[in-house]
Symmetry: none
C-alpha cells in the first residue's frame, strides 16, 4: 500500500476530502482485520448496519462522529483515533501515550523515561513480531509517528 498507482497518487494530491474518507475506511478495515472479526460482527458490536459499515470501509459513505464513536466502541479502540483518521481531530505529535506520560505531573522525569522505555520496547517487540511475519527486515525503528505507520504490515 505504500506504492500507490499513479492515478491514485494524483487523486490523493487533488482531493484531500475524498482521501480522508478513504483513509478512515481503510483504517477501520485494518483495525477490524487486526481484531480478526468479520464485518457483520463489528457492525453488530458497533450497533450500525453491516451494509453501511461496508460502504464506510470502502469509502462510499462518510460516517458522522457519532457513528465513528460506535465503531470505535466495537473495535475497542479510542474514538479519538478514528476522529484523527477522519480528519476531525488533530493528531498529536508524539503520540497519545508519549504525550500523556510526559505531561503527567505525578511522575518524575526518571519515571517518565522508564515508562517510555518500557513502552518503546513493547512496541519494538510487537514490530519485530510483525516483521518476522512479513519478512526479516533488519534496521532502525522506522515508526515514530503513530498507529498509522502500522498499515504496511497488512501486506
Amino acid at each position: 500500500m505504500t506504492n500507490l498507482e499513479p492515478d491514485e497518487q494524483s487523486a490523493r494530491n487533488g482531493n484531500p476530502v475524498a482521501n480522508l474518507s478513504r483513509d478512515i475506511g481503510e483504517y477501520i478495515r485494518q483495525q477490524r482485520s487486526n481484531a480478526k472479526i468479520s464485518l457483520r460482527q463489528l457492525a453488530k458490536l458497533a450497533g450500525v448496519s453491516n451494509p453501511y459499515l461496508s460502504q464506510v470501509e470502502r469509502g462510499l459513505r462518510k460516517p458522522s462522529a457519532e457513528i465513528l464513536q460506535q465503531i470505535a466502541k466495537g473495535l475497542r479502540i479510542s474514538a479519538e483515533a478514528l476522529y484523527v483518521q477522519a480528519g476531525i481531530l488533530e493528531q498529536r505529535q508524539g503520540g497519545p501515550v508519549v504525550d500523556a506520560v510526559l505531561a503527567d505531573p505525578d511522575l518524575s522525569e526518571r519515571q517518565k523515561q522508564v515508562l517510555l522505555d518500557v513502552y518503546e520496547s513493547f512496541r519494538r517487540e510487537n514490530a519485530a513480531e510483525a516483521s518476522v511475519t512479513k519478512s526479516t527486515v533488519e534496521g532502525s525503528d522506522v515508526d515514530g509517528a503513530g498507529p498509522e505507520t502500522r498499515t504496511p504490515p497488512k501486506e
Copy 2:
C-alpha cells in the same frame, strides 16, 4: 441563566440527546456573545449560512463535526471544546496516561496491563515520598512538591 425554568428542567432530565443538542447551541451563542459579534458575522467568519447557525444555536439542528470545526474557527476557540459540548469527545476521566495506554492499538492487552502496573507503582512510590516530603516541608525534588497538591483532589 443558571436558573432553569421548571419545564426546561424536566426536559433536560428526559431527553439527553436533545439536551446535548441544546447544550452546544447555547454554548455557541454564549461564546458568540462573549466575542461580541452578531450571528451573521459569525456565520460569515465560520463559512456557514446564518439561518443554519441560528437553528443550531436554538437547538433545532445538530451540526456535524465539520461544521463545529468551522464554527470553532470563526469563534477562534478550539474545535475540541465544541466537540466536548456536543458530546462527541469525552472529557478525560481515568487520566490521560491510563486512557492513552488502554487505547493504544500497538500494544497487547498484557502489555497494557504491565505498563499500567508500572505506572501505578510509580504513582504509589511518589505518593509515599510526597507524604515524607510534606512533613519536612522542604523537598529536594521541586517536582515532588508540585504534584502533591494535585494528587489528593483527583482521588
